[in-house]
Structures are given as structure tokens and as C-alpha cells.
């Protein structure tokens, strides 16, 4: 068996491009997510159509632009400019102040602001709308308090649990770890097994006295090791570069990862037993595994918001449960009592995949 493990490592190390993918991709992903990719809205380009240009509209404009959410792209001159600005995709929001804004506010007690949003990206539109309303309302409240003799109000003290600086890396690191363990374990093992089939070396191995189970273990162990190295480098990066905490027990984190890995490896073996060529195995693990892992697991999009049917579908994604576990350990710092259910689910999936692949594997030998 040791000979096997050594051989598998040789295959990996002799192929520098694979090494680059194995180690480069995860690091690139963490760095991208850490530095570049965020769901937050910053510096959204807006345009302002100010029909009034008085003290109040300038004050509101100033308030808006002094927040980091908005960046003034330009002032528009007329209503006719709005449509082209949106169509060219230059601005996400246009703010329209009506004529005689300050005067109307003074005399009639009411003045109107229109918020126009490019809703082709509904998420951005929604958030921009909420921010704009928040800023203007705060301004209104301040004015009201100033003019009222007795400024009565309720103040709010905010506390952000687990992620006080609202860093998106906190959200993404568990996802990247999951995708990566899935990729390395399931895809790499399935490819390396089908490669032996394609090259014809699998027959020689099966004709040897080594038990099929040992062949599989020998192929799988190197990827476990690699995944672990990867896991640790991602953790180091997220802790030391992005200041992400690991609140809970590191031992528990590693143990849960090992369980998830086992599940993914079993899945990889299962894929390899149903595919005849490397190309098939790759496409299967790439298409059938990657996009759903990213989209259905709650990595980027919250599962709670999906249609019910998709929520059921996401229930059978092992990655979904692992992401919950990771967040619990790393960010909430809670123990196994909080996620024994998720652990159990992954455990049973692992058993299922192992059982299925043993069955498939021996059937295949029969052919």
C-alpha cells in the first residue's frame, strides 16, 4: 500500500500544472474574495438631476456623497439625460429633486425627491434604495429635531455579532474551503482513477494480489494529504492576512474537515466508477458538482431565500451542511452540540457514497 501512495505522489509532483491548480487556485480564490470580491456596495456611481439647486438640495447631496456608498458620476441637465445615462450603464441611480425644493419645503411643508434605480441588478438597486432613504430620512429627522422645541427620539446602538467589521471574507472563506475540498477530493480522485482505466494500468493493478479496496485507499491517501495542506494554507491566509478568527476548537475543525473529505473522496470514487474516460469524469465533476456546489450551498446566495423546491435540492448538497459547520466553528465558536445534525448528515452521506461505490466497483469487476 505504501508503494501505491508513493506512486500517486510521484504522479502529482511530476505534473507541475496540476500542482499549480491544486495550490494556486485556492490561494487565488481566497485572495480574490478577501481583497476584491464583496457583496457590499461601495462607490456606486450616481447622477443627480437637481431642478432646484438650493441650500437644502445641496445639503442632501453633500450628505449622500459623504457616505462611501455613493460616488457622483455627474449632474444631469434635463429629464432627457436620464435614459441615456442608464442605457450606457454609467450610473446605477439617479436622484431627482423637484423645482423650488427648499421653498416648497418651507411653505407647504412637503417637497419631493425621486429615486430612480437601474434594477437590472436588483440586489444593488435594493441596497442603494435602502441607503439613500436612510441618509435622507436621517437628515429629515435632524431637521425636525432642530425645529422642534423638545427633541424626543430613540437612539440605536448597533452591535454586529461575529463579524464586527462586516468583512465579506468571513462569509466567503468557509465557502472557498468547501468548494476546494470538494474539487480536490472528488475531482482529482475521480480523474486519477479513470486515468488508470484509460491507460490500461488499472487491469495490471487488478490482476495483482493487491485488494481493490487497498488500491482505492492508496489512490485516495495522497489527496487527503494535499487537501489538508491546502486547508491549512487557506486557514493561515485567512487568519494572518484577513484577520479572520477561528473562535472554536481547531481540532474539531480539522476532524470535521476530515469527515467531509472522506465524503468527497467517496463521491469521487463513485464518479470514477460510472465514467469510462477522464474527460467524462472531469465534465461530470465539473458540471454536475461545481456549479451546484457554488450556487446551491449557500456559499454566495443564502439558501433561505431560494424557492422551496431548490431548498430541498440544496438539502442534498453536502457542501451546504459543511459550510454551516465551518461558520459555526470558525465564527461563532460553538461546539459540536450546535451542529451534530449537520455532522450526522455528512456522515450518512459518506456511508452512502462508500457503500454505493463498493457496490459499483465490484459490479464493474464482473464485466
Amino acid at each position: 500500500m505504501w508503494a501505491f501512495i508513493k506512486k500517486e505522489f510521484l504522479h502529482i509532483f511530476r505534473d507541475p500544472r496540476t500542482m499549480v491548480i491544486l495550490f494556486g487556485l485556492p490561494l487565488a480564490q481566497v485572495l480574490l474574495f478577501g481583497f476584491a470580491i464583496t457583496n457590499d456596495i461601495n462607490n456606486a456611481h450616481i447622477a443627480i438631476l437637481d431642478h432646484s439647486k438650493d441650500v437644502v438640495t445641496r445639503e442632501i447631496t453633500r450628505k449622500l456623497l459623504s457616505s462611501h456608498y455613493f460616488l457622483l458620476n455627474r449632474y444631469l441637465k434635463s429629464d432627457a439625460d436620464i435614459k441615456p445615462a442608464f442605457r450606457k450603464g454609467e450610473v446605477k441611480e439617479v436622484l431627482v429633486f423637484e423645482r423650488d425644493f427648499a421653498r416648497k419645503l418651507q411653505k407647504e411643508g412637503v417637497a419631493k425627491v425621486q429615486i430612480l434605480l437601474d434594477a437590472t441588478e436588483p440586489n444593488t438597486a435594493n441596497i442603494l434604495d435602502a441607503y439613500t432613504r436612510g441618509i435622507i430620512n436621517t437628515y429629515v429627522l435632524q431637521r425636525m429635531k432642530q425645529s422642534a422645541a423638545i427633541p424626543i427620539s430613540i437612539g440605536v446602538q448597533n452591535k454586529m455579532l461575529y463579524n464586527p467589521q462586516l468583512k465579506s471574507v468571513y462569509m466567503f472563506v468557509p465557502g472557498v474551503i468547501t468548494v476546494l475540498l470538494m474539487l480536490v477530493s472528488a475531482m482529482m480522485t475521480s480523474i486519477s482513477i479513470t486515468r488508470e482505466k484509460e491507460l490500461g494500468t488499472m487491469e495490471a493493478l487488478l490482476a495483482s494480489p493487491v485488494k481493490p479496496g487497498h488500491i482505492i485507499i492508496g489512490k485516495v491517501v495522497p489527496y487527503v494529504v494535499l487537501s489538508f495542506i491546502n486547508l491549512i494554507s487557506i486557514l493561515l491566509l485567512s487568519v494572518f492576512v484577513f484577520g479572520m478568527p477561528i473562535q472554536g476548537s481547531i481540532g474539531l475543525l480539522l476532524a470535521e474537515s476530515l469527515l467531509f473529505l472522506t465524503m468527497a473522496l467517496a463521491l469521487g470514487i463513485l464518479i470514477s466508477t460510472v465514467s469510462k474516460t477522464q474527460q467524462q469524469a472531469m465534465l461530470l465533476s465539473m458540471f454536475a458538482l461545481m456549479l451546484p456546489t457554488i450556487l446551491l450551498s449557500g456559499f454566495i446566495f443564502p439558501v433561505e431565500n431560494m424557492p422551496v423546491v431548490l431548498q430541498y435540492l440544496s438539502d442534498i448538497m453536502p457542501s451546504r451542511w459543511f459550510i454551516i459547520i465551518l461558520k459555526n466553528i470558525m465564527l461563532k465558536g460553538v461546539g459540536i452540540t450546535y451542529f451534530w445534525k449537520e455532522t450526522l448528515i455528512i456522515f450518512s452521506m459518506a456511508l452512502l457514497f462508500i457503500g454505493l461505490s463498493i457496490k459499483k466497483f465490484s459490479v464493474r469487476l464482473e464485466e
Binding site: 457583496n39 456606486a44 442605457r87 435602502a130 432613504r133 462586516l166 446566495f301
Partner: protein, 350 residues
Amino acid sequence: MLPIIFIIPIVQLLVLSYTATFEIKNVRFVVVDQDHSSESRKLIDKFSGSAFFTDMGHLPDYKAAENAVQHDDADQIIVIEPDFEKDLVNEHHAQIQLVTNAINGSAASLMNAYAISIINNFNKEILIKKLPLKFKGMPIQLSSSFWYNPELDYITYMVPGILVLLVTIIAMFLSSMNIVKEKEIGTIEQLNVTPITKFEFIAGKLIPFWIIAMIDLLIGLTLARFVFGIVIVGNPFLLLFVTSVYLVLVLGMGLLVSTLTNTMQQAMFISWFFLVIFILMSGLFTPIESMPVWAQQLNAINPLAYFIKINRMIMLKGSGFADFQRDFYILAAYAVLMLGFATLRYRKRA
């Protein structure tokens, strides 16, 4: 191969388009009300009455509430101190505490914004009630209108994006694995002894994939129209035209990868590496504006970023050619460049 090329993308389009929503409809909150006054109850009623919030009940102390968040039974905690009403009456000012699960930072800031707007409205009502003569109603009236997608429908937003994504993945993988496959099984030598020119060879590889990807796109657009009810606002032929140029670019890239690698596995991994980065940075899932400047500059070489932008402009906004001509010319030049490289790199004596 056929099911992989046609059926999987369609299934994924149908399923995955529904996944992508950040929308927060249902903030689950728990209350720790230590005041039990009429004012505190009124405030909580405001939350319960909002469509965005769901009341998960009252808890005796903060510890129990935090435990609920830890178990993921609640997203937000509203803590009202014992002297809330008294402070409001006597001091004209009272504090409440708002605790939010911030693991998902952007969701947290949105939840927070919703909560604060409820509290602000409550504040205004107090003022209007106390000083009815001075304030008749809201002094500044805000009205929002959401252009191109008034219902804020996420499907409308995701379908064009996912469609582009799937067509790109198909085109990239088919082309990047192609030449290298012939290298691996040795048929390339067969071709090398024929008198075809480099350019003919590359063109011969490109055209079938181009047709497959176009068919995928057409199927996808048909589904978008009849399943998701997305009408292409702009000119559909303009969309097809831009797509045809974009596909040449992606296929050119794939073929370049294919000429540079020796095994299918390598080709697959390299295209995967670039695709992941292209996809994540393309603005498909996250807004490009929020990225730091260097990352936005990096997108200058990201074909997907250009194409998703143009695609959404045509499909959803009805933009014309003049609106995105700069981006289009970049795509076209890029396509020529990639194809040129692929042709140059392909040697007949491999």
C-alpha cells in the same frame, strides 16, 4: 457528450437561475424587552407589522437571545433596557440595542438598515404626535422607481448572466480540450500530414464549436422567453451579433490553451483556473463597483465582464450599439488577438 453539451446547461439554467437572490424578505428577530411598557410594545409592534421582519418571540435575557442566534434560530436581537419609556418621557431620549448576526456582512448591513428605518419612522411618529401643529406629515417625500425591472425580480437579473456563463463554459471546455485530445490520441499527426494551412485548421476547429455554442444560446434564450418570461428589450439580432464575436474570443482562448498543453487534464485545469477567476470577477454575482480599483482594472482582460455587461444592457435595458460600442470594439480586438495567438502557437510539427 451530447447530453453534456445540451442537456446539462439547460437543466442548470432552469434550476440555478432560481438560486441567486440576496433579497432579504424575512429577518427573524427575537426581543429582549426588559421594560414591558406601552412604548416598548408599540415599537416592537412596528417590527412585527413590517413585511421584512418575522417575530420569533420574546426571551427573558440577552444570553438566551444570543443563544438563539447561535443556533441560527434568529438573525437579529432587539434589546430594550428597563427604563426605556421613562427615559423617553423624562430625558427625551432613550436607547435600544440592535444586535445582528453579521457572518454575512452585506446581509447584516441590509438588515440593520431596515431596522433603523423602522425606528426612524417610529421617531417621526412620536414627533408628529407630540407636536401636531408643527408637522403635518413627512416633510420630504421619497418615491423610488426601479427601472427595467420594477418588480426587482431576481430571475430577470440572473437568467442572462447564467446563460452567458453556461455558453462560456461549454465553449471554453470544448475548445480547450480539442486539439490536446487529438495530440493525446495521436490523430493530430494525421492532420499534420495533410496540406491544410494553420488557419484552415484553426477555423475548422472553431466553426463546429461556434455553432454548438450558438445553438445552446438560442435554446437558452427560448427558455428565457417562454419559461422565465424574459422579453429581450433590445434588438435580438444585435445580441446574436455580439455573441458571435464573443464566442470567437472564448473559443480562441480555449484553442490557445489547447495548443499550449500536452494532456487533456492540463487543458481542463488551466481553463478551469481562468474560468473561476473570470466568473467571480465578472460582476455576475457581485457588483464590480465595490471591487478595489486594481481589481476593476484587472477586469480589462476579463471577456466575461464585458459580455455580461453588454448582454444585460441589450436584454434588459434595450441599449443600442452606440451605448456599448467601446466595449464591443475591445471584445472584437481581443478576439482577433486570441485567434491570432492560437494560430501562431499551433505548429504543424508538434
